[in-house]
Amino acid sequence: MLKNSHHQVTVFTLRELDLKYCIGCFGCWVKTPGLCVISDESSLVCRAYINSDLVIFASPIIMGFTSALLKKVHDKLLPLLHPYLDIVQNEFHHAARYDRYPSFGLLLKKGKDTDDEDLEIISAIYRRNAINLRTSLLFVKLMEDSPERIVYEINSL
């Protein structure tokens, strides 16, 4: 539906990608600036990410948070930032490596045990992630919402 409304869309099915865990070596900052030293397909995600206007993170809620699979990719976005420090909203954050960063949208599928507090906790953390990645969280939607509505809202952003 998004494609039909004249957007260019790239979809990653994370389950099908070859992804290694971030091991916190900071090689992407001090050895090969801007690139992870462990080669895997997270570089495809990073490239698409930084050349987008909007990134939608879609995940089921498992044990009160987005999936470990999504977090695996999220951890690997570190090369998109710069090691130098900056103060954003009166807090320490990292300096931008790129001139612009895509906005965030969050699309969640509730689990059996999901309650409103879980949704609040997740949204709060993604709002923080957005500050860290030099952008803002534009929306949090549930899979239960109608797709037409979600697309309509994206189109009116």
Binding site: Y21, V30, S67, H82, F92, R97
Partner: protein, 234 residues
Amino acid sequence: MKLTVFNGSPKGKKGNTQTLLDHFLSGFLSGGNHTCETFYLNEINGHEVNAINFSRAEHILMAMPLYHDSMPAVVKAFIEMLPSPSSHDVQGDIFFIIQSGFPEANHSRYLERYFKKLATRISRRYLGTIVKGGCNDISHRSDWMAKKIFKSLYGLGKFYGNGGSLDQKILHQLAQPETLKGVTLLFLKTGIKLGFMRSQFDRMLKKNRAYERRFDKPFLDSKEHKVSSKQEHS
């Protein structure tokens, strides 16, 4: 008392998390007839066995670095393996250590909130979370340099060993600064504009002969594409 520890640092025994744990545990073991056992979550193959160790433990400490305002992905993968408790009877207690690179505790408060909820979810009594920022190089700092931090952790460990709870006063002191304020904030803002606080990274970049490439943007698509995609959006 037997304490079961889960270290969630992707760096395992070599990380900053371990350094903080060492000091907490030496305080804990200093009094009484206590024992502890540590499991490492950085080996993904171990999750299944570790999850069993987790459900059998009465007293649990989970410690980790902050990764993008939440838990490292390996830790989330572990949490997903935890069986939901068969009954709503309290299964034991749990507390956490979150340590981070940025100095303010506020960065870790959102994950702290998640952990408080997680405790309820797995029917464990929540004892609290030890939060410490500014830990980037703590595993390399001498006892003398990090004296105050190490002493606080030792104190927290000892207090926990004595009464099974966290000393709120030490917890509060250790977490400082909660946020940046006033003169400090002004001073830091100016310092960053002037390019201070870069020396640690510059040293490493130079050592790796990568200093000249430090501002590289390897993932940028060509200019034309960028301009056109921007127009498309507006």
